[in-house]
């Protein structure tokens, strides 16, 4: 996950030279950004269609799938960090949306937040239904997952995760209908 633009650099009413002021401003900026205004850009997604079947993927679909997969992860990261189920409908539908919404509901209840720092995805299309109505994907994601209790960081680890995803077409994009992490492919 990358940071979006952050506004404000803090204010340091201290005695001392401009160097101290600069250090203070930099520290304040970094802290402000890390705590207050983490927002996600779409992560990098490498897409492999060499093992797809039974239908071959059209060029346009081959461009849209990694784009929409990346957007879905971007949405997921913001929704789980800010506990915003209202964002999920942009990219998720069906069981995937229901389960993520349930996660957020229980996070809100317990005062928890989860931050996904996304270091990229290797996405492979595995099954493309003959009628073009569903695509099953294997995703190997490089993730840093942080769990917060309020603002208290209770856990952080960086891990390679495997996900199975199912995408179905909506009006002008593909939606994630199923998203499950699995021990291996």
């Amino acid at each position: 996950m990358k940071q979006l633009s952050c506004v404000g650099t803090g204010h340091c009413p201290v005695d001392g030279g401009s160097q101290t002021r600069l250090i203070c401003a930099t520290l304040a900026f970094a802290l402000f950004c890390s705590v207050s205004c983490f927002a996600a850009d779409a992560p990098a997604v490498q897409f492999d269609t060499s093992h797809i079947g039974p239908r071959q993927m059209e060029d346009v679909t081959g461009r849209n799938i990694p784009r929409d997969w990346g957007r879905a992860w971007q949405t997921l990261a913001v929704a789980l960090e800010q506990n915003r189920p209202d964002l999920l409908g942009r990219s998720f539908t069906g069981f995937a949306q229901q389960k993520l919404a349930a996660t957020i509901a229980t996070q809100v209840k317990t005062g928890l937040r989860t931050r996904y720092i996304d270091h990229g995805h290797k996405l492979a299309a595995y099954f493309y239904s003959p009628d073009g109505g569903a695509i099953e994907l294997h995703d190997t994601a490089d993730m840093e997952i942080q769990v917060f209790d309020g603002n208290d960081l209770v856990h952080s680890d960086r891990i390679t995760l495997h996900y199975i995803g199912l995408m179905t077409p909506a009006a002008d994009h593909w939606e994630v209908r199923l998203l499950e992490s699995v021990p291996s492919f």
């Binding site: 803090g10 204010h11 340091c12 009413p13 201290v14 101290t20 203070c24 520290l27 304040a28 802290l31 039974p54 069981f95 229901q98 389960k99 993520l100 349930a102 996660t103 229980t106 996070q107 209840k109 317990t110 005062g111 928890l112 989860t114 595995y126 099954f127 239904s129 003959p130 009628d131 109505g133 569903a134 099953e136 997952i145 769990v147 209790d149 208290d152 960081l153 209770v154 856990h155 952080s156 680890d157 995760l161 199975i164 199912l166 199923l178 998203l179 499950e180 992490s181 699995v182 021990p183």
Partner: protein, 288 residues
Amino acid sequence: MCRILPAVCLAVCLTATVSLAAQDLQLPATVAAGSGFAIPTSGSGSATLYLVGPSYAAKRQVQLGEKILVQPQEVRSAGRYLAIVRGGGTSQSGSFYVVAAKSASLSFLAHPSRIPVAQRDGVIGVAFVFDKWHNLVRRPETVDFRLAAKDAPPVIQSVRSRDGVAWALMNSGHKAGNAKFVAALDGIEETRVIQQVAADPCHLQIRAERNAKGVLVETAPVRDCSGNPVSDGTVVTFTANGPQGLSTVDVPIKKDVAQAELKIPGPATISVASGVVMGNEVRVGGQP
């Protein structure tokens, strides 16, 4: 603020360090969805358990040195779960995977809903296998796809699912009418209805007869190559070519036949077509 900032930064770093240096909890590698289990702990005093997984996040007080019971309803969704126990100045953590339980439902996509008869590989069935909590069942399972029309033996294909999905291409039957398309697995059945309709006309035949007003042309009952009556409303085109030029009339089939009255006084050759299918030609003489 600058006096506070370094302290905050230090606190954040220390928290992260404690987290990174956390001991591992003894957790099973995988658990079937909806199955409870116990997590042994060491030490004494109270601690906080955090359990974070797909569709669930929990925080509750536990006693160190005692087993922590994870309830079946806490691990219903398949995926990776994090368990963290913090207390007594230590942090223990670990992860485990919940995998799908027994197959309980099929998500069945059938395509198309309407198809001409005798289409090779024209009927598509895709079935996703889920357990009772909507987790994808990745274990291979045998899904039976059955296409059955009235008064015809059903066609069955058995397919092993892979990564939760099984699919089949089937030929449409030879008889027009509704066909039941079923995906079945261990007593679970999902049914869709596929409407099989007559295909293109076959052996299109016309006869023509001159009368006082012109020439009456009429097809024989229009049927496809399997003998099914072609649907009413299907357009048949009559073309008359004679000394007076070319004239064309489009007529829908009504009660199996199409007929038209062509106002041509002179001799003509009349042909018939429907879609890409051509029929016979007949010649008629001029008016006496």
